[in-house]
């Protein structure tokens, strides 16, 4: 039966995440925005709480490890509201608190999502309880991730990795870095594999931490891999070069993590709208759902339009997560959600700052910070343009060679 409400059974989880956002994240938002590279130690305690949320419930959890396909799992027949949906909902609530801080919660990195998605049982056990960051981007390869130059060469029982990785979220603080490297550049995307590298590996050299527009609570690291030796059992997925389907396996992670990044954007948008509604209320502007927008104040009409785009992004995100829970292919819907949520959060955040005027632009409130945080959400895990490409290729039935 068609119903688009948050299921009752997830109410407690959502309420808990909301509490974390209000009582843990918000009070320290500005502090770690100003103190860019300090480790938010308040989050160590929180990580244990979120681990508990993950373990204590068969509904899946609140964090990055909760996302995986449900198709191959035994479960009750019929409609499922599982860990993809619960994770999306809790990520929305946590990012209503602070996106940068969510990205800094130990053991909830995108590397953890990759491990959850493609690791075998032995690996899953070996990496359990450890915080994993993701290293894909290189100075000369961003959206074009098939063009990466970092190499991996098998030498005895170890792979030797050489190259340069940038924009590694939580790279300084994580325990593990999932590094994408190619076994053979001549063989293109099929030869790209991911390797789990210990942060303490002497061949993994931290170059610098970036200074950023926003999400300053989250460390963004640049590494050099200098003859970095990785045990062969730390390669994720099949070791061979499969010409047909190799890269698809690596990219599969994104189908699961894109709804999460969309959820981050939805949460941030919600924060902006709630704050703006409060400011408008203080200024004597009420939003009337029944009156035509053109008959209300310009501010109320603008709020209504922003709320509408928020709602579309919110439901597109839940749809993508729900499809993953129910084993339905959701690559198209995940990209639609990411595209809509990413552009909506930037658009809404910037408009909310303007509606707030000097108050919105100043540092007394968090609106200006959210507007800075927002921009990354339309960039990482696939830019707006990449999402539009994915959507268009699927709808038009075109290959990446035809629609470049």
């Amino acid at each position: 039966m068609i119903d688009l409400e948050v299921p009752r059974k997830l109410g407690p989880l959502v309420a808990q995440a909301r509490q974390v956002a209000d009582e843990v994240f918000r009070p320290i938002s500005r502090k770690y925005d100003r103190d860019e590279h300090a480790r938010p130690k308040e989050l160590d305690m929180l990580a244990a709480v979120i681990d508990g949320m993950n373990d204590g419930s068969d509904l899946g959890g609140a964090g990055a490890t909760g996302v995986h396909r449900s198709a191959d799992r035994e479960g009750p027949q019929g409609n499922r509201n599982g860990s993809n949906l619960s994770t999306a909902l809790s990520v929305m609530e946590l990012c209503r608190g602070d996106v940068g801080l969510l990205l800094s919660v130990p053991r909830q990195g995108l590397g953890n999502s990759a491990i959850a998605a493609v690791a075998d049982d032995a690996q899953r056990e070996r990496y359990a309880g450890r915080w994993a960051a993701m290293a894909i981007t290189e100075p000369e390869a961003g959206s074009d991730s098939a063009a990466i130059r970092t190499t991996a060469v098998l030498d005895g029982d170890e792979y030797v990795l050489n190259g340069e990785k940038i924009y590694v979220t939580a790279g300084e603080r994580a325990d593990l870095i999932v590094v994408w490297a190619t076994l053979d550049r001549a063989q293109g995307r099929a030869a790209i594999k991911s390797f789990v590298v210990e942060r303490s590996n002497p061949g993994l050299v931290l170059d610098r931490l970036e200074h950023k527009l926003g999400i300053r609570a989250s460390d963004t690291a640049a590494f050099r891999l200098e003859d970095c030796r990785v045990p062969r059992e730390d390669l994720l997925g099949p070791p061979g070069i499969e010409v047909t389907n190799g890269f698809a396996g690596a990219m599969q992670t994104f189908d699961n993590t894109r709804p999460l990044v969309a959820a981050m954007a939805v949460g941030l948008t919600r924060a902006c709208l709630e704050e703006t509604r409060r400011l408008l209320g203080d200024a004597g502007v009420e939003v009337d759902w029944d009156r035509p927008a053109a008959l209300q104040t310009a501010a109320a009409a603008e709020y209504l339009a922003m709320d509408a785009d928020y709602e579309a992004a919110y439901l597109l995100t839940l749809q993508a997560a729900w499809m993953a829970d129910n084993g339905k292919p959701n690559s198209l819907q995940a990209s639609m959600a990411k595209a809509k949520a990413g552009r909506t959060c930037v658009d809404v955040a910037l408009r909310c700052v303007r509606l707030g005027g000097a108050l919105g632009y100043g540092e007394d409130l968090l609106l200006e910070k959210w507007a800075r945080d927002a921009k990354i959400l339309d960039i990482f895990e696939g830019t707006q343009q990449i999402q539009l490409l994915i959507v268009a290729r699927q709808l038009l039935g075109l290959s990446s060679a035809q629609l470049r």
Binding site: P7, W289, A312, Q387
Partner: protein
């Protein structure tokens, strides 16, 4: 699926009506439709003399019957089996009866097509089984699915076909026992009267909460005066529900039988939705009884009516926007410029992506609004948001559709120019449809 789960809000009677219809045979959808039938009867298609019809209650109920609210529990985007089968039949009808007749319907009213549409049992979708309808639970979601499927064929014809259903649904939701007994048997019967929900008035910045049509109380009833715009099938309408300002200044809904006198109808052709055969209705001191007041004149009922109507207009927008997307995809793949299909250019391809994304967002927001209405939750916000998306993205999708075809989009050889005109309506129309 348990027996309890099978007893869905949408009963089998709408399917039964379909099963008895010739339309089903012509469309070749009998197989799936029959799978859930417990009986199939039909006593022949009747064309009654509509001119002499009087609405009267054969049996009178002591209390009104309302569809129950639904009980959800899980996030779910899967329609029920019954909804899926109905949607399949509506889609087939839209493809074979509405789309091919859309161009002709712009020039002349296609009464025969409306007759065919009546066989789909659309008026039964919001009416409880006890009153001869098809449902036990509220079915705004089903109404949304119907509007979406039919509008994919043609928006104007879909609006005309759904107009009597809006009146039937309004009676089910807000009619008292007498009103239900008097009007619903005809509306859910074999010979469905043309009927319409008339709220919009012809002026800029129209606000449904501040109507200029007045209902002046007089001994034994009210006298209605005013002008209603874009009323579908107005010339044929045997029953109207009219929004009018009551004595206290607040809006209310009144049942009006045009045959009773004082109702004048003139053609009201517009930019689009021409298949709906819309007319302008002038009410000149129209006397109605005290029993004509719907929903006891409660302003909350009127506001709910306006919001429910906007939800279905959004669904019409979804159906037309989907038609645009379905049309432009093959076109841009086949149209060659500069040596390759234009779909190979990002400027073109991204436009397709944007249409699809905004369409899907609008569809989900519309469904959420309808599902909340069915569950008895407040849905004013969601209806307003669906309207906002319709207004902005709907119109833009219409424009993009023409743009992608270039000059070919501007000529009537392709339907995209009609969809451009139809999509301008979905964010501004008030009344007419009801979920």
């Amino acid at each position: 699926m348990t027996a309890a789960e099978r007893s869905m809000g949408l009963g089998l009677r709408a399917l039964n009506r379909l099963a008895g219809s010739d339309v089903v045979d012509r469309l070749g959808v009998r197989g799936p439709t029959e799978r859930v039938l417990y009986r199939a009867t039909r006593d022949g298609f009747r064309v009654a003399g509509r001119a002499g019809r009087t609405f009267s209650a054969a049996t009178r109920r002591s209390a009104p019957v309302r569809p129950r609210t639904t009980a959800g529990g899980l996030f779910d985007l899967t329609p029920s089996d019954e909804q899926e089968m109905l949607v399949e039949a509506w889609r087939a009808f839209a493809a074979e009866q509405l789309r091919p007749n859309a161009a002709q319907a712009e020039r002349e009213p296609l009464r025969a097509t409306f007759r065919e549409a009546d066989e789909l049992g659309l008026t039964m979708l919001g009416v409880p089984e006890e009153l001869g309808g098809a449902v036990s639970e509220r079915s705004a979601v089903t109404a949304v699915l119907a509007a979406e499927a039919l509008a994919h064929g043609d928006a104007g014809l879909a609006v005309g076909a759904l107009a009597p259903a809006a009146v039937a649904t309004a009676l089910a939701l807000w009619g008292d026992a007498d009103q239900q007994s008097t009007y619903l048997p005809a509306l859910v019967g074999e010979d469905v009267p043309a009927a319409a929900l008339a709220i919009a008035e012809p002026r800029a910045l129209f606000d449904p909460a501040h109507l200029q049509t007045t209902a002046r109380p007089v001994a034994g009833g009210y006298v209605l005066s005013g002008v209603k715009a874009l009323v579908p099938r107005a010339a044929d309408a045997e029953l109207l529900i009219v929004g009018a300002r009551a004595d206290d200044g607040r809006p209310a809904l009144f049942l009006v039988e045009p045959a009773a006198g004082g109702v004048h109808v003139a053609p009201d052709p517009a930019m689009g939705l021409r298949g709906a055969a819309s007319g302008r209705v002038m009410l000149e001191d129209v006397r109605v009884g005290r029993d004509a007041l719907l929903g006891a004149g409660d302003p909350a009922v009127f506001a709910e009516c306006v919001a429910r109507s906007r939800i279905v207009w959004a669904a019409i927008g979804v159906g037309v926007a989907r038609a645009v997307l379905d049309h432009v995809i093959p076109y841009v793949n086949e149209r060659v410029a500069f040596g390759e299909p234009i779909s190979h250019r990002q400027a073109v391809a991204f436009s397709i992506s944007d249409i699809a994304i905004e369409l899907e967002g609008l569809r989900l927001v519309t469904l959420r609004a309808a599902a909340r209405a069915d569950a008895g939750r407040d849905f004013a916000r969601e209806a307003a948001l669906a309207r906002s998306l319709c207004d902005r993205h709907g119109a833009r999708i219409g424009s993009e559709g023409v743009q992608l075809l270039g000059g070919h989009g501007y000529v009537c050889e392709h339907p995209v120019e009609r969809w451009y005109r139809d999509l301008r309506a979905v964010g501004l129309m008030e009344g007419v449809l009801l979920a």
